[in-house]
Amino acid sequence: METTIKFYQTDTFTVGNRLLSESERSVQAGMQRTNALNSGHRACQGCGEALGARFAVDAAMRAAGNDLIACNATGCLEVFSTPYPESSWQLPWIHSLFGNTAAVATGVAAAQRVKGTKTRVLAQGGDGGTTDIGFGCLSGMFERNDDVLYICYDNEAYMNTGVQRSSATPPAARTATTVPVGQHSNGNVFGKGKSVPLIAMAHEIPYVATASVADLRDLEAKVTKAMSIHGARYIHIHVPCPLGWGADPAHTIKLARLAIESGLFPVFEAEHGEITGHRAIREQVPVEDYLKLQKRFAHLFRNPKQVAVIAQLQAIADRNIRRFKLLEKSSLNTGGTAV
């Protein structure tokens, strides 16, 4: 069984599993993967969140020896996976509310402590449930350093309710509530929003990381690493949403990769409030390459082209490159990324 390869990924920079030794192969490559979020759910074609969740949860399951409980916020992930009487979850799973997932996970973890079990706890939600409505409970969970891995699947808006702006929506993006109108509006405003990974670091929790569905091996490795640590841990995964972004479902991975390589989505790791690693970019691509593939930025490219706005976005990307030292040699050693 161990030698069977069920899955391997091509068409990205990720190395095919056939070329790797068994110990380096991805969780998804093995027949033993739990398929914890199984197929047949109702996610859209090309859904980045479904992909990210499958890889993250399976990696967490392997790391926990399948002894894992998942808590879920309200959102796409909950709605497309649990239309009663069906469920796509092959692990104990609870959904309570939109804003309380971190607190519910705290309760589940407390029950494990009091019962003396070794069962691990995973909490997950979208960017709305994490950066906005669930933020108070998330901060409380960080502050108490509860033994929970919280994963945010960031698709940069409230996709489940029809694409409204969240505090993770990038500047200039068109959403249902940041509609670019006339000469003076270019979509979502600049200088708003928040970086929950940086805020998580400010809580000095044991482990914070960002990851992307463009680099699933790195994602798996980070989940595995997070599971090797106890206490509050946070992983922020960038998951393109073809529907909300107005993009071709075939471009999900490509968009995620361009977000990294332009510098708009910095991939890094931090422990106890200090950045400990980053994923290097071989060559920075212009943000335009990323923006042009999405209808939510289409207003920037109509006549006249919003050169100044695009330059502002480029400046954000450039600042990330400097701030997270993204063009310097990668210091991530999470397995499978750099070759």
């Binding site: 409980i69 649990t82 609870i94 607190a103 705290t106 029950a111 409970c137």
Partner: protein
């Protein structure tokens, strides 16, 4: 063991005897002493094993209890007033998920204007949330109800609120008989969850339910709660056998069998009402009282049969359904529907206004002589409200009512006798 003890401390000790496994603590007046007491007990190892979790809000407090309960732990928290409203979303969620959480409510008014004193607006605002609601008359009953509440919650897999009048009970020192651990253990078996988050037998809890099944789920929640109407008297009887005390049950009639007038109320005010009833009975008035111990599910049959023979019903309630009158009175009216009994709603004691024997005596005399309105406000300062109404009707832009009243007549509190 008999103790002269503060109500909150007595409740904390009772909770401790129930062996909770997860306690969530967030401070809100007048609930604070309960979680403080529990924190000290956990610290001293008197409750073990137990996780005492300090949370960042009431919303988180109940959410943590939801997670803990779903994972099979006996979970407890306590709140009051704005805190209960802040956790409202989770209140409905806990009952929807059928989680047997027990929560103490230190009943307190809801702002604005901000007010920390006792009335029943907070818990009554959650009357339709699917939680069983029990109301304590004394601190002894508060202790006893908590012990029964866990058993009730866990047998039905429904959350239970034990409502205790803020300050009047929570901060009052009374003689309370705190049971022995062995007695409680004999009454309350370890928690066996109906459904649990278990990696060996994974279940999905909290799935999204569409129109094809939502009605049925709600119906079953109603059906399950109505079963409590049978179980609560059984538990009260079992409790009496075990502990020798008559506590809880659906209703508590007092000198009401042959009464023309019956006064209905929730909570601690029943003590004062009973004193006045005794006094008026001695003076020859045909009056009795009826304490409603179980407000949700509402014991319609029991209330109806207790009120069938009376000439008039006076509901004294510490809450106001703005725009209609009384919350509890509406339930009582439903219970006696078709009997053609006049039901008088008396809104009293809002925001901690004392309900004095003197006021009740005058009220009951008026009731007895047939001079009571359908809706009354006990000890309302008519001159104050008339002045404000005149100001509003004069067409001036009036500011916040409370500020206007304070400005024109000085502090209201100083005028309370």
């Amino acid at each position: 063991m008999l103790k002269q003890i503060e109500g909150s401390q007595a409740i904390a000790e009772a909770i401790g005897l129930c062996r909770p496994e997860v306690i969530c603590a967030y401070p809100i007046t007048p609930q604070t002493h309960i979680v403080e007491g529990l924190g000290q007990m956990v610290d001293r190892g008197e409750i073990s094993p137990c996780e005492f979790i300090n949370v960042e809000s009431e919303f988180a407090a109940l959410s943590v209890a939801i997670g803990a309960s779903a994972a099979g732990a006996r979970a407890y928290t306590a709140t009051a007033s704005q805190g209960l409203l802040f956790m409202a979303e989770a209140v409905y969620n806990a009952s929807g998920l059928g989680l047997p959480i027990v929560m103490t409510i230190g009943n307190r008014a809801i702002g604005a204007p901000i007010n920390i004193w006792n009335d029943h607006q907070d818990s009554l605002s959650m009357r339709d949330s699917g939680w069983i609601q029990l109301y304590a008359e004394t601190n002894q009953e508060a202790v006893d109800l908590h012990i029964q509440a866990f058993r009730l919650a866990e047998e039905l897999s429904v959350p239970v609120m034990v409502c205790v009048d803020g300050f009047i009970l929570t901060h009052a020192y009374e003689r309370v008989d705190i049971p022995e651990q062995a007695q409680v253990d004999a009454f309350l078996p370890p928690f066996e969850p109906r459904q649990i988050l278990d990696p060996i037998h994974p279940v999905t809890i909290g799935a999204m339910v569409g129109p094809e099944a939502f009605m049925e789920v709600r119906y079953l929640a109603h059906y399950k709660q109505m079963q409590a109407l049978g179980l609560i008297p059984e538990l009260a009887e079992a409790f009496q056998e075990q502990f020798g005390r008559d506590s809880g049950d659906l209703i508590k009639p007092y000198r009401s069998e042959d009464a023309d007038t019956i006064v209905v109320a929730l909570g601690s005010v029943n003590g004062t009402i009973k004193d006045v009833v005794d006094e008026l009975r001695d003076a020859g008035m045909s009056i009795g009282s009826l304490a409603i111990s179980t407000y949700r599910p509402f014991p319609h049959k029991a209330v109806r049969s207790a009120l069938e023979h009376v000439k008039r019903i006076v509901v004294v309630e510490k809450s106001l359904a703005i725009g209609i009158g009384g919350i509890v009175a509406t339930d009582v009216q439903m219970a006696v529907a078709g009997l053609h009994k006049p039901v008088h709603t008396v809104v009293a004691g809002l925001g901690g206004r004392p309900i004095t024997r003197d006021s009740l005596r005058k009220l009951f005399h008026r009731a007895d002589s047939g001079h009571l309105e359908r809706l009354e406000f006990l000890d309302l300062k008519h001159d104050v409200v008339h002045e404000e109404i005149a100001r509003m009707e004069a067409g001036r832009r009036s500011g916040p009512i409370a500020e206007n009243i304070l400005h024109s007549v000085g502090t209201v509190a100083s005028q309370i006798r």
